[in-house]
């Protein structure tokens, strides 16, 4: 029944998409499409929540669609239900936000038809239960999001982003297709049910894992497959950016977990090392790239790369513990990863909404042109601050809980058997700690430069507060961030069926712990009481404020007027995004980006200003993509000659190939 209603929801979204085609030219069009999406996603969200919390048997359904002898299989198990919650929560929030934001869209006819279809694709991928439907829905989702990236196609940068995205998405789907082909084996049954029972040799299992890493990793944004992400996510309209960053990358995580933890069967120990190494690199590279950005949406997109790294650290640890027969630890690591998936979908959507509101109010994404928005957009500034604190993993918010749980899992690593893992995991822990600190620095920069200080351009002085729909969506997500941070035990308990199904073990029940604290392993080892921290922070700040007001001196003093640290009246002398990032660029940049700073001093007597040039290179492009591109171009150049042969030479080619094949046959037999 749940599944039928959910499929009806998907059908309703597709109807909304058709309505979007018909109504795009009218003002009411965006209202109808977005309110329909909101209603449908809310229904789907409630269904998925009920399914996850009730922990009932997984409903299955076979529709006579797609390939005639295969049909389309659907199923909602615990993993699907959890990801349905993530998808539909993000989708509902984005639809609510878009009710206000979408009214300002210049090209609604390029957004409205694809938006509900994209939501439908996201839902379908998660509930698909055979490889064919999965790949079909996956490609549908990719294409719809590509269409949304290309919504503002007149900008050449957006076209380039769309092109790179399309190439990477096709590559990813291709890798997934091969992975499913290997999973199906020579017998070739494409339902997940049969795939689960398959046995694979070590070589095939390694190939499947690699292909899954390529396929899901290119969509999720694992380094070095992340290059499309910071280009494509900012190019889309902001509510779509939020969906792509907050939700679609999570669907990629779902695909990886589904293939590696569910379908592949028992993984080998080295697979966790590969995943952990990649995830560690992704985490620190993502945050370093993010720090160097001064485009607000691109900064957020790079941060998605970092958070995906954190999620994959959890998944890699879960696999590592599982191969060492440590089910409790594996359940902890997996729960941490899934919790972070949930959290990231909340705060990344929130932050993209904030960036969208700023973009809408000022027309600027470049932080260097913003500033002082807290006075003009106080509500947006407040919710954005909560999002920043959450993504920087500050207690008592939700980001802290999931990263803390990941650290708890890392601290269990000395008990694993393999020396490789024993050596690697502490390194990953150090990387995680480093990137958490860098993330905090990055969001101090993002928030400080955008919302604090004085406006740097006239555009920023004319900003207006966002509309009520946008604000309500942002407040909703901010409240959820706080709630999930203060009551993490409930989220952990809700995730228990997922790890029970995948790992065969679960974290201890948290709801019964005293004072709503969470105890991942044992009370003697570690515990965290978010409510206590929350109350303490609240009380401490309240008492401090009280004390200052109570005991501060009322006596008159005479001194120079306070200049807020900027003695020069020009706003351009303020601390800028680039200057904030300079120390970190100097420490890590020379190695990671080949950052070069160059000061051009005019000769004495020349009135021109001195210029500081900073050049950054993306080494992934230089080392990974440039050789591939070069090789493809060179091969194409060579093959191009074959376009201009004479008829007789073409015939000779065919003849020669035939003779060679016959010779091979003659020698072979």
């Amino acid at each position: 029944m749940t599944l039928v209603i959910l499929l009806v929801c998907v059908a309703a979204l597709l109807v909304a998409s058709i309505l979007g085609v018909a109504m795009a030219r009218f003002r009411a069009g965006s209202l109808i499409v977005y309110s329909m999406s909101l209603a449908v996603c809310t229904v789907a969200l409630v269904l998925a929540l009920v399914q996850l919390l009730r922990n009932a048997a997984a409903p299955t359904l076979v529709l006579p669609l797609a390939l005639p002898w295969l049909g389309a299989h659907f199923r909602i198990d615990a993993l699907s239900a959890f990801f349905l919650v993530v998808v539909n929560l993000g989708a509902a929030a984005a639809s609510l936000y878009a009710l206000g934001y979408g009214a300002h869209e210049q090209a609604p006819h390029r957004v409205l038809p694809f938006y509900p279809a994209f939501l439908a694709g996201l839902n379908l991928v998660v509930i698909a239960d055979d490889a064919f439907s999965f790949l079909l829905c996956w490609e549908f989702m990719s294409l719809m999001s590509w269409a949304l990236v290309m919504a503002h196609h007149r900008d050449a940068n957006n076209r380039r982003a769309g092109y790179i995205y399309l190439v990477m998405a096709s590559f990813g789907t291709f890798a997934l297709m091969l992975a499913f082909g290997l999973l199906a084996g020579p017998a070739g049954s494409y339902t997940f049910e049969v795939m689960r029972t398959g046995q694979h040799g070590p070589l095939i299992a390694a190939l499947i894992l690699t292909l899954a890493l390529f396929g899901a990793g290119s969509k999720a944004g694992l380094v070095p497959l992340h290059v499309w992400l910071p280009l494509a996510h900012p190019a889309a309209p902001s509510h779509v950016s939020a969906l792509m960053s907050g939700v679609m990358t999570k669907v990629a995580v779902y695909a990886f977990i589904r293939i590696v933890l569910d379908l592949l069967g028992a993984p080998s120990w080295w697979s966790s090392m590969v995943i952990l190494a990649l995830a560690g690199i992704t985490t620190v590279a993502g945050v370093l790239y993010a720090l160097m950005q001064h485009d607000l949406k691109r900064l957020l997109a790079y941060h998605t790369v970092e958070n995906i790294g954190i999620v994959f650290i959890g998944v890699g640890l879960a696999i590592g513990f599982q191969t060492n027969a440590m089910p409790t630890a594996a359940a902890l690591a997996l729960t941490a990863a899934l919790f972070h998936v949930f959290n990231h979908s909340l705060f990344k959507s929130l932050l993209f909404f904030g960036a969208g509101a700023v973009l809408n109010a000022t027309g600027e994404r470049d932080m260097e042109h913003l500033g002082g928005l807290i006075h003009r957009m106080p509500y947006v500034a407040f919710t954005f601050l909560i999002g920043c604190a959450a993504i920087s993993a500050l207690p008592p918010l939700n980001g802290f809980v999931s990263e803390w749980l990941t650290f708890q899992a890392i601290l269990l690593s000395p008990t694993v058997g393999e020396w490789g893992l024993k050596m690697l995991v502490p390194g990953v822990g150090a990387v995680l700690a480093l990137s958490a600190a860098l993330a905090a620095a990055c969001f101090v920069k993002a928030y400080g430069v955008t919302f604090l200080g004085r406006p740097r351009t006239p555009l920023a002085t004319r900003a207006k507060e966002a509309d009520r729909f946008s604000l309500s969506a942002m407040f909703l997500l901010a409240a959820l961030c706080v709630l999930a941070g203060i009551f993490p035990g409930f989220v952990i308990d809700a995730l228990a069926p997922v790890s029970q199904a995948l790992i065969g073990s679960r974290m201890p029940v948290q709801a019964t712990d005293p004072w709503l604290s969470i105890i991942p392993i044992a009370a003697s080892r570690s515990s965290y009481d978010a409510l206590l921290v929350f109350v303490f922070i609240g009380l401490a700040s309240f008492l401090t404020a009280m004390a200052i007001h109570r005991f501060a001196s009322h006596a008159f003093r005479r001194s120079a007027a306070w200049d807020c640290g900027t003695p020069d009246p020009s706003p351009s002398t303020q601390y800028s995004a680039t200057s904030f990032a300079q120390p970190i660029r100097r420490v890590y940049g020379a190695l990671a980006f080949q950052a070069r700073e160059q000061v051009e001093m005019p000769p004495p007597g020349d009135p021109r200003p001195a210029v500081l040039r900073v050049s950054l290179r993306d080494l992934v492009w230089d080392w990974f993509y440039a050789p591939i591109e070069g090789a493809v171009a060179a091969t194409a150049g060579r093959l191009n000659q074959f376009q201009f042969l004479t008829i007789r030479k073409y015939l000779s080619l065919v003849f020669g190939l035939l003779i060679i094949l016959l010779l091979v046959l003659a020698i072979w037999l």
Partner: protein, 220 residues
């Protein structure tokens, strides 16, 4: 005479290979067409013998088609074309006749080695039929590759098709409908190529296909 059936089939198929070699060393178009007519005649005989052996009356139709179209109509038509074009003397080879013949022998050896190994389970008649047929096909291709003149390329193509026919009748497989449609497609290909020959001639004053390549603006 228990082996008469096999020996006759062997003789006719082997004769086809031999005539393919004769096609390779002709240096005048008129004699090339005569040899091609002989090629088609031997094919018709071979198919008729297979029809007799297999008790398959529809193969007589195939033999009749081969005799009518390939041994009479097409050679006569081609002869009229070259008379009208006035090119009955020219055959321009890319490689000399000698090396071509040597390559042809190697190809026959290759097709024997491959086919006799692959078809170890089939009947002897089918085996040698298939082996000779592959040899004829390869020799036809060789002829197409080593000739510059469009008419001799057409003849190479037709002899290649004769090889296919031989294989199909030997394998007891090809239904009459397929056979007729193949025959018609060959005829249509022949007509199209004939028309093109005239057009090429009108445009370039020669039927050397090198002129076509120069017209495409390419360099060899």
């Amino acid at each position: 005479m228990p082996n008469l059936a096999f020996d006759t089939a062997h003789l006719l198929a082997g004769g086809l290979v031999l005539i393919s070699f004769m096609l390779l060393y002709q240096d005048r178009l008129t004699s090339l067409l005569n040899v091609y007519a002989l090629h088609a005649l031997v094919l018709a005989l071979s198919v008729a013998w297979q029809a007799h052996l297999q008790n398959a009356p529809h193969l007589y139709v195939t033999a009749g088609l081969a005799l009518g179209f390939k041994a009479i109509i097409i050679p006569v038509a081609l002869r009229r074309i070259i008379e009208r074009l006035g090119i009955h003397r020219e055959i321009e080879t890319v490689v000399g006749i000698g090396p071509t013949m040597l390559a042809g022998m190697a190809l026959v050896g290759l097709s024997m080695v491959v086919m006799l190994r692959v078809t170890a389970a089939a009947t002897p008649i089918a085996r040698q039929d298939l082996a000779f047929a592959l040899a004829v096909v390869l020799l036809g291709l060789l002829m197409m590759v080593t000739r510059r003149n469009a008419v001799s390329q057409v003849v190479g193509f037709m002899s290649l098709e004769n090889g296919l026919n031989l294989a199909a009748t030997g394998a007891r497989g090809m239904p009459l409908v397929v056979e007729i449609s193949v025959a018609f497609s060959i005829l249509i290909a022949f007509i199209v190529i004939g028309i093109f020959l005239f057009r090429i001639r009108e445009r370039f004053d020669t039927v050397d296909i090198g002129a076509l390549d120069q017209a495409r603006g390419e360099h060899r």
